[in-house]
């Protein structure tokens, strides 16, 4: 009596042995000489089983180790129209697909509705530790009695609901692959990267939900989301969700001059670098030019010196003492506000934290302390917080109403998302964004690129040397206030409020 065909999971793949009857299985498998059995990619699990079962072939499934969840939902609030529609579309698409919603349109709540309607063990993958903790706090509050765990940021839990970073989930992809029935990818544009995509490829999860405000990738790999998660099934732009109270958001750019010493040093560094570039006929305007510069810097002592000079100039422009003076002025002016301070450089974060005794969060901050610090900030115990890049993506800080960007590099996504965070505000409050830039440095051009201005503006900027010693509105160069898209009321009701 021949044994019945059995499907089993092996480190991110499936083994089918012995071969079943019927013929639907044939197109899914490959013969593996190493084990003398048939193997198929784990991600084919659902299609394979659907196909063999459709023709009535018997296959015993020993691969799936995911469990049913008894989710007790504490939150019974009515979803918004777009959340309801998105959920409906996702279910119609067989519970596979990508939903595009602007930052702050309640993606997390949508995901929780999907979990409630698909009660299987769930792996949630997020790009940052902050998002990890945000999800964690919300799931704990909303699915009381369920065991929610973390993978990454120093935690290595083993729970039916698991929130993991992309990096950790990718490292453990072979082990996680058959334990979760539902995969949720937050900021899912991260997934198609070489190493991270294995989270989807090595998983048998039949149900998959991707969430993003900005699914496009510069390398075009966002097309892969179709196979890794599912087709884009619902998409709303910020404009589509307009309505409700229009919030007003001002962007105030403040230019500061370098101190005389810093200016001299900056000019010397730039001159040294430029001499080398000119000598080697390198233009830094293109990525290729930049790569060539990096390559040259490893080949000659002059190149190395030019690179060091370039770095020093950058550090001078980004972390200048004058900026700290402006920061103190701004903090004085907004003494009663909840202020978030951003800067790209970790060193600057710690300089600010140590000098002004403001709590800091960077990628080095431990998981538990990060959570605690953010909680204190939300509760107002800490009125100010200084962070580096770690808080970039969609982190919910509903009470911040003033943001100060103390230098930054350009990518549109970063800029939009930083703004988005500040926009998550309580009714009636004016959200303010300050951008503090050193004048006459390359940083100024970065800032303009970020605003989508043409480069011709830079000549104007360098000739207008604004000496800003205080941060009064009339002293700073006030840019036209931007009417950014209002974020739907969903944000006003954050899960943390429950």
């Amino acid at each position: 009596m021949p044994r019945t065909a059995t499907l089993s999971f092996d480190r991110g793949t499936l083994i089918l042995h012995p071969p079943p009857k019927g013929k639907a299985w044939v197109e899914f498998v490959m013969w593996d000489d190493r084990i003398e059995k048939f193997r198929l990619p784990a991600s084919q699990y659902r299609q394979f089983l659907e196909a063999v079962r459709a023709e009535g072939t018997q296959v015993i499934d020993k691969a799936a180790q995911f469990s049913e969840l008894a989710l007790t939902v504490t939150d019974s609030r009515e979803p918004f129209a777009h959340q309801r529609e998105a959920l409906e579309k996702w279910k119609q698409a067989g519970r596979r697909g990508v939903v595009v919603l602007p930052t702050g349109a309640g993606k997390t709540y949508l995901a929780q509705l999907a979990m409630r309607d698909t009660p299987r063990s769930t792996l949630i993958v997020v790009p940052t530790l902050d998002l990890m903790h945000q999800w964690y706090a919300q799931l704990e509050a909303n699915f009381q009695g369920s065991s929610v765990g973390l993978l990454g940021g120093g935690s290595k839990d083993d729970t039916a609901i698991l929130v993991a970073t992309y990096d950790s989930a990718a490292i453990y992809a072979e082990r996680l692959g058959n334990r979760y029935g539902l995969l949720i990818f937050d900021e899912c544009h991260h997934l198609p990267a070489d190493f991270k995509r294995s989270i989807a490829e090595y998983s048998i999860a039949p149900y998959r939900l991707g969430l993003s405000a900005t699914p496009e990738r510069a390398d075009g790999k966002d097309a892969d989301l179709d196979t890794l998660i599912g087709p884009r099934i619902y998409s709303k732009r910020p404009e589509d969700l307009a309505g409700g109270a229009l919030a007003k958001h001002d962007i105030i750019q403040i230019k500061v001059d370098l101190s005389e010493d810093e200016r001299t040093r900056y000019d010397a560094c730039i001159a040294k670098r430029n001499a080398f570039l000119k000598d080697k006929k390198i233009s830094l305007g293109t990525l290729k030019g930049w790569q060539y510069f990096v390559a040259q810097s490893a080949r000659s002592s002059a190149g190395r010196e030019a690179m060091l000079a370039h770095r020093e100039a950058r550090a001078l422009a980004f972390g200048t003492q004058s900026k700290l003076r402006v920061l103190v002025d701004l903090l004085h002016k907004h003494a009663a506000d909840r202020v978030l301070i951003f800067t790209d450089s970790n060193d600057t974060v710690y300089t600010i934290s140590e000098t002004l005794l403001i709590p800091a969060i960077t990628h080095q901050t431990k998981v538990k302390e990060r959570h605690e610090t953010l909680t204190f900030f939300r509760e107002g115990i800490y009125p100010r917080l200084v962070t580096s890049k770690v808080l970039n993506e969609g982190v919910d800080v509903p009470d911040a109403n003033v943001a100060i960007v103390l230098s930054g590099t350009s990518t549109t996504r970063e800029y939009v998302q930083r703004l988005g965070r500040i926009l998550r505000k309580r009714e009636g409050k004016l959200a303010l964004l300050y951008e503090v830039v050193a004048s006459g440095t390359s940083e100024e051009r970065v800032s303009e690129r970020r605003r989508g201005k043409t480069s011709s503006a830079s000549s104007k900027a360098s000739s207008t040397s604004q000496h800003v010693k205080t941060a009064n509105d009339d002293a700073g160069e006030k840019q036209g206030s931007l009417d950014l898209t209002p974020i739907a009321e969903t944000d006003a009701i954050s899960f943390e409020d429950l």
């Binding site: 991110g12 070489d194 003494a335 002004l356 080095q364 302390e369 800490y382």
Partner: protein
């Protein structure tokens, strides 16, 4: 192993050649310089250590070599600790809670620090200064960790380790490697396959003990598409390969994206037993057990033309491999025999061993089984075992084995 940005390699034809440092005066001097910086920085913070290393780097274009040395010394020869009399996270909470009530300024910061210092002095009954509070605030940051132990290697060892790391780095981009193991005695394959299993790799084995073996190594999902997913595992595997006596390796690589010049579609990295790379893995013990060792030495004293070879044959079994302890070769007989000594008592081991023997299905296998083992209790039945079985008490007698091959 080194991070990608410290890897140095060039392309030559279809081959990647990693940086290889000679044990020259100059290189030994550089290695010694870096080692001495670590020795001098014992007790200092990681930040200070890195600053000192940066001074040593200077404007040198070979800064990546020095940085590579430093990376290896940091990760494999050093220990760092958080040194702080006050738990930094608690200290931060105290300080930030106090400063939250103030408008931020340097003057107010000094007031807060003084206040916290005086509170702590009272609480702990020690003298805590504001500067100590400021310094302790982030004592747990990587940069502020203190180098508490450094086991200085000698300069030659460091260069060996560096060269090995560069070679391993090439394999980060490997989709699979093919090893050709020539006629080897001893083969020392057991250790190789132990590491293979440890790193989650898979092997496909072809060949025989007389002509050598071709072993293709990759991972489970390699079947569907070439990927670098198992590259770091293959890199970790390399030092284990270096312990085998005669071999050559051909690694197929996905071209790295930071090389200059025209790039072939497929690039290779080739190595052999003469490559001069030095493994830092602890060599496997020559014999798995005292029983095997005793048997080999008794065999040496036995008068017979049958020659005993150790770990030379590989019996591929779907999903695994069996490496019999010995092989018996006679100059006048074509027929050879394989001898496996079964003396370990754990039921799991016994079950696996006998399942392997069944799957291997060889007619030239001799099992020497200890009479002390309770096979029945382990659930092992001997009815359908396709091997000659000889029983032994304590020691395996060469005459019993000779009787079995006669």
């Amino acid at each position: 192993m080194l991070p990608s940005d410290l890897l140095m390699r060039r392309i030559q034809g279809d081959e990647i050649v990693p940086k290889r440092l000679k044990h020259s005066e100059a290189n030994l001097a550089t290695a010694t310089d870096v080692i001495e910086v670590f020795e001098a920085q014992l007790g200092e913070t990681k930040g200070t250590l890195e600053a000192a290393l940066q001074v040593l780097e200077g404007n040198d274009t070979d800064y990546r070599t020095k940085r590579g040395f430093a990376h290896i010394l940091t990760n494999s020869f050093s220990e760092f600790e958080v040194k702080s009399p006050l738990e930094p996270a608690d200290l931060r909470q105290k300080v930030f809670a106090a400063s939250a009530k103030q408008i931020p300024s340097e003057a107010n910061s000094n007031k807060v620090l003084a206040q916290v210092a005086s509170d702590l002095s009272q609480e702990t009954q020690t003298h805590v200064t504001p500067d100590m509070v400021r310094a302790g605030l982030y004592a747990d940051l990587q940069d502020n960790h203190v180098l508490t132990r450094f086991d200085a290697p000698n300069a030659n060892t460091l260069i060996d380790r560096y060269n090995l790391s560069q070679a391993q780095g090439v394999l980060y981009r490997a989709s699979h490697i093919i090893i050709t193991a020539y006629r080897n005695d001893p083969g020392e394959y057991k250790q190789l396959f132990r590491f293979l299993k440890l790193f989650g790799l898979m092997a496909y084995i072809e060949g025989d003990a007389d002509h050598g073996f071709t072993i293709t190594i990759d991972g489970p999902a390699s079947l569907f598409k070439a990927s670098t997913r198992y590259g770091t595992d293959l890199a970790k595997f390399l030092p284990a390969l270096l312990q085998v006596s005669r071999w050559s390796m051909d690694a197929t690589l996905v071209p790295p994206n930071n090389l200059y010049g025209p790039m072939p579609d497929e690039v290779h990295y080739r190595l052999d037993a003469e490559c001069g790379l030095v493994s830092h893995y602890k060599p496997g013990t020559t014999y798995d057990s005292a029983v095997e060792e005793a048997f080999a030495s008794r065999w040496a004293k036995t008068k017979t033309d049958w020659r005993l070879e150790r770990e030379v044959d590989l019996l591929p079994i779907p999903g695994s491999v069996m490496v019999p302890d010995f092989r018996l070769v006679h100059p006048e007989h074509e027929k050879t025999y394989l001898l496996e000594i079964v003396g370990y008592w754990r039921p799991k081991y016994l079950q696996k061993k006998f399942a392997q023997v069944r799957k291997a299905d060889r007619d030239d296998l001799i099992l020497a089984v200890s009479e002390r083992l309770n096979l029945e209790a382990a659930g092992v039945k001997l009815d359908d075992v396709p091997a000659k079985i000889i029983w032994f008490k304590g020691k395996v007698n060469p005459q019993d084995v000779l009787a079995a091959v006669a």
